[in-house]
């Protein structure tokens, strides 16, 4: 034996040495080692510092339940992964791992002062201590706690890796490829079922990997499964969550174990829908609770066996077993046969199976029944244990360098619990086992409570002559919760395990209490003098083990986080320096700055151009719905507030859409193309919502109406040409449409050709100027736009963006639904009662316009606001008060909804929703803003060309 590597045994490749680094020191391990086994082989016992007390910690377990040995792996810029369990990190050439939660170094850690001050850190300490004074929280407590607490450091650089994802479907999904899982796969292999077998480790076998007698069977089974065409094997894959209808999420780790990560995906997210699920997750050994049970070198008995038989590593040269369960004896016998020195077996029980006693005798191992470990000597590693007789507390010391704990077994019911399967308590196991399933799922092997590890005693805390209130006997190693913390919580009145858990944080660390929940329950049960099932059960939730955000996000990040909708003209705007904004996932040109212009200057120029000559605007994002059928007019008549039946083909109408509660939900100008065909427009953001609402009424309230609705938003590019010269620009390009004012009046639609392309040409205006909206098939949008730009050059045609569009419409008093309304505004509130058909017997929302709340006085109503100082542009959202001298908090009577600088008018303009506003024209209101309270007078909504003379030219 060189160091702690055994001469023989294990599945590591002794011909393949691997160099790696831990905390800057270079070590050699073997191909097949984990970071944990490789460091143990080098005699390293100290792996990290604990979360709260910064106590030195070693390895507790050998698998994914490890709570202590959390490390960070650094693979270069952006590839820094914190909080990995050393027991799951496969070593490879160049691996660079570092310990966590220590400063300045693992051996000399400043935060360990917390441990000496332990008496000041009882359960609920944070809740109690840092409550007061409030002012200390931000400046003193929180920075100090943040400095000291927390697990690994979050990476700061952008992750250069990419992550794949896939869906899979199978008849049978088996989670866990230990003997039980492999048997389940072999048993179904010869059917025609599609089978997926998942295991989190790098090779199949689970517990069999630590049992050399099973290796030949394992090899045969593995080969049979690989050869079976209907079986998919996923190793290094963690089934982290079990969701409705047998939907399982799993992450497959593809490159972290490789010396060079390469260009492939680092991890792959599997979303698996399974006909049947077999859970074979095994069982996790329970630690025992005694003072010093967190000293590096104190670990689970099963872990020591795995290190010896799977990795060929001795966890010590003189090992002591502290057992409450037969399984520990079998582990120690296996260790002894592998060449590990055994100092003693201590068992808390008075009697054990005579066969165990005989085997211990045959191997020459000293046995102390009815004894308990009451203390551990050594801080960074074990030097000795003090044991005592359970009856008379007669103590003695045993020199040793490792202590194994065999506290019994806890079935891994995590995924079973995710699936909402019920659990039942088994006194003999001291554990919950699966009871009734909620999905098509069954548990096999260890996770069902079915194992052949022998018998054991269920025990909360080992007997000790010491004062229980003064010793640190750990229950939750990762969150530093001790037995006395749980007892304290009970003394302070907590009765339910859900409350005890949250107060003490037992089981709330990243391991979700895999090794601590049952011990916590037993201690609470004893303290409350109630059986465990009476104090409840905490729930497991996904993920089973921590997963990377990268795997869950996949490619849905950056530009691919959500789709960006672009118009056919977007590329032109991009090439011409447009500044964009996102509107309901559409990328829209906000303004087109010329060299040296800021937004303000650009918008002023764009507005003036529209009012004085002609502007061009990409309105393609407007929602569009084609409404067709013999009952189309009747349908629209029922949906909208306006009358539609008398609208002649070729004419347009402004439509106002309410919800049934009487509040405005959308608006838009729509055209009747034929007696049975309408071209509707909606707001950009409301298109999908309006179509859904119309489908709802059509399908479920009025299925007798013969109408079809089709979304045509993306079928048309729409170019708004607005300004006194709009007709002159358009005329030479249009065929088959008489553009004269007499033949083609405001609010009309004509079909014809533009630049040789069919068009639906609207004469409409959202600016108050002579205007046209040119609808052409989407693919021709940019081509027509460019022809219009060329044709308009003589009039200095000016592209304008959404910002100028907002100013121009506000000058004319046109509202924007969703900006000037907020879902509580009626047509009357918005000054749109002219758009309500008074004679119509019914339409959506009509009955609500007579609701008591809606006819009551004092409703907020939309008005114009003109500041006394014309240069002040109010902030949108600013609150309005009637009397600025009233005491704070003031009575707010409304708020500003839209506010702009109007270059055309040479002053600011605003809209506001103000309680009783329609009665307040000419009144003075006050708008308190940081630094100053502004004064404004209530006006009408139309600030420019109130007669509409500019429209009808």
């Amino acid at each position: 034996m060189s160091g702690f590597r055994l001469e023989t045994g294990g599945r590591v490749d002794r011909n393949q040495p691997v160099q790696f680094r831990f905390d800057g020191t270079s070590y050699q391990g073997l191909e097949g080692d984990t970071l944990a086994s490789a460091l143990l082989a080098n005699g390293v016992m100290l792996f990290g510092r604990s979360f709260k007390y910064h106590r030195p910690r070693g390895i507790l377990a050998a698998g994914s339940e490890e709570p202590n040995a959390l490390v960070s792996v650094d693979r270069g810029p952006g590839r820094f992964t914190p909080n990995l369990r050393a027991t799951g990190v496969e070593i490879h050439a160049g691996l660079n791992a570092v310990s966590q939660n220590r400063w300045p170094s693992l051996k000399a850690d400043f935060g360990a002062i917390n441990d000496r001050l332990g008496m000041f850190f009882p359960a609920g300490f944070y809740n109690k201590t840092f409550m007061w004074p409030r002012s200390f929280w931000d400046k003193v407590y929180e920075p100090a706690i943040r400095q000291m607490a927390g697990l690994g450091d979050a990476p700061t650089a952008e992750d250069p890796d990419h992550y794949a994802s896939t869906y899979a479907h199978c008849d049978l999904l088996i989670v866990g490829a230990g003997p039980a899982g492999i048997d389940a796969a072999l048993g179904s292999m010869d059917t025609n079922k599609r089978i997926i077998l998942i295991d989190e480790q790098d090779e199949l076998g689970g517990g069999a990997l630590a049992d050399p007698a099973l290796w030949p069977w394992l090899e045969r089974s593995h080969k049979a499964l690989i050869d079976a065409p209907n079986v998919t094997i996923l190793t290094r894959t963690t089934a982290f969550g079990y969701y409705h209808d047998n939907f399982i999420g799993a992450v497959q780790r593809l490159t972290d174990h490789l010396p060079k990560p390469g260009d492939g995906a680092r991890e792959k997210l599997w979303r698996i829908r399974a006909g049947e699920v077999v859970l074979a997750q095994g069982a996790i050994e329970r630690p025992l609770v005694f003072e010093g049970n967190d000293t590096p070198g104190v670990m689970l008995s099963s872990a020591a066996k795995i290190f010896a038989t799977r990795y060929g590593v001795a966890v010590g040269k003189a090992v002591v077993l502290m057992a409450a369960h037969d399984s520990g004896w079998h582990d120690v016998f296996a260790l002894a046969k592998a060449g590990v020195g055994i100092a003693a077996i201590i068992d808390v029980r008075e009697r054990v199976d005579s066969a165990l006693m005989q085997e211990a005798g045959r191997l020459g191992i000293a046995v102390h029944l009815n004894h308990s470990v009451m203390g551990v000597s050594g801080r960074h590693s074990v030097r000795a244990v003090q044991i005592c007789n359970n009856d008379d507390y007669l103590a003695r010391r045993i020199d040793c360098d490792a202590v194994l704990m065999a506290g019994g077994w806890t079935p891994s019911v995590h995924l079973w619990s995710h699936s909402k399967g019920s659990l039942k308590w088994r006194d003999d196991l001291g554990a919950y086992v699966p009871d009734q399933p909620n999905e098509n799922v069954r548990c096999v092997g260890g996770c069902s409570g079915d194992w052949d590890f022998g018998n054991g005693a269920v025990i909360d805390v080992l007997p000790t002559p010491k004062d229980h209130s003064r010793i640190k006997a750990f229950v939750d190693f990762q969150n530093d919760v001790t037995a006395k913390d749980i007892k304290l919580a009970v003394r302070e009145g907590f009765r339910s395990i859900e409350h005890i858990k949250r107060y003490t944080t037992n089981g709330m660390a990243t391991d979700q209490g895999k090794t601590s929940n049952l011990n916590g329950l037993q201690i609470a049960s004893s303290a409350l003098d109630k059986p465990v099932p009476d104090i409840g059960l905490t729930s497991f939730r996904p993920p089973y083990t921590p997963q990377t955000f990268g795997a869950l996000a996949g490619h849905a990040k950056g530009a691919l986080f959500q789709p960006t909708r672009t118009t056919n003209i977007d590329s032109w705007a991009d090439a011409h320096g447009a500044v964009f904004e996102l509107v309901a996932q559409w990328r829209r040109a906000r303004y087109f700055p010329k060299s040296g212009e800021d937004m303000h200057a650009a918008v002023n120029r764009e507005c003036v151009a529209v009012r004085s000559s002609v502007g061009i605007f990409d309105a393609s994002t407007l929602g569009k719905i084609e409404v067709v059928g013999p009952d189309a007019a009747e349908f629209l008549n029922r949906m909208y507030t306006n009358p539609w039946k008398a609208l002649e083909p070729g004419r347009c109408r402004y439509g106002l859409l309410l919800k049934e509660d009487g509040f405005i939900t959308d608006d838009g100008v729509s055209a009747r193309l034929a007696p049975d065909r309408f071209h509707l427009t909606t707001t950009t953001g409301g298109a999908a919502r309006v179509l859904n609402m119309m489908e709802d009424y059509l399908q479920t309230e009025w299925p007798d109406l013969d109408v079809w609705l089709t979304s045509t938003t993306e079928q048309y590019a729409v170019i708004a040409l607005q300004g006194p010269n709009a007709r002159k620009v358009l005329e030479p390009l249009v065929e088959g449409i008489d553009l004269s004012a007499e033949a083609f009046p405001h609010m009309a639609i004509r079909e014809g050709m533009i630049c040789g392309i069919p068009t639906r040409l609207f004469r409409v205006s959202f600016t108050g100027e002579l205007g046209f909206e040119i609808n052409v098939p989407t693919a021709y949008g940019r081509a027509v736009w460019e022809r219009l730009m060329a044709q308009g050059a003589q009039y200095d045609i000016t592209p304008y963006g959404t910002e100028a569009m907002h100013v121009l419409r506000a000058e004319k008093g046109f509202i924007i639904v969703g900006q000037d309304t907020d879902g509580t505004v009626t047509p009357f509130d918005a000054g749109l009662d002219w758009a309500v058909g008074k004679k119509k017997p019914d339409f959506v929302g009509k009955r609500s316009m007579a609701r008591p709340d809606i006819v009551a006085p004092g409703r907020k109503q939309l008005v114009g606001l003109l500041t006394d100082d014309p240069n002040v542009v109010l902030e949108e959202g600013a609150q309005i008060v009637a009397d600025p001298k009233q005491p704070v908090p003031m009575t707010m009577i409304g708020h500003v909804t839209s506010s702009y600088w109007s270059e055309t008018l040479g002053r600011s303009i605003a809209f506001a929703l103000v309680a009783g506003g329609h009665e307040m024209t000419g009144d003075t209101l006050h708008i308190p803003m940081p630094g100053k309270t502004h004064i404004a007078k209530v006006s009408g909504l139309v600030f420019y060309d109130p007669e509409g003379a500019r429209l009808h030219v």
Partner: protein, 90 residues
């Protein structure tokens, strides 16, 4: 992710294809103007919030587009049945 049976497509499809559309079997009155304020309030706003069986509407919005009715258990999130709009309450 739940699987929901669309009674029009007659297929079980993942829930991301569907949108919930509120409580089922609340018919719009034939003549809303004849409704009292109290009845109209009930129609607009008053909804059941049961623990257990709940009748609700769903739309196969990213599929056939049809609205249909369902009985879902609000405790287990399991769908008991789905049926076409206009069919009697189950």
């Amino acid at each position: 992710m739940i699987l929901i049976h669309c009674p029009y497509c007659d297929e079980k499809r993942p829930e991301i294809e569907f949108a919930n559309a509120g409580q089922a079997h609340i018919a719009r009155p034939i003549d809303p103007s004849g409704e009292s304020d109290a009845d109209w309030e009930t129609y607009l706003f008053i909804r059941a919030n049961p623990r257990g069986r709940h009748h609700e509407r769903w739309r196969h919005v990213h599929g056939c587009g049809r609205f249909f009715n369902a009985v879902r258990d609000t405790v287990t999130d399991k769908f008991e049945t789905t049926y076409k709009a206009g069919e009697p309450r189950r």
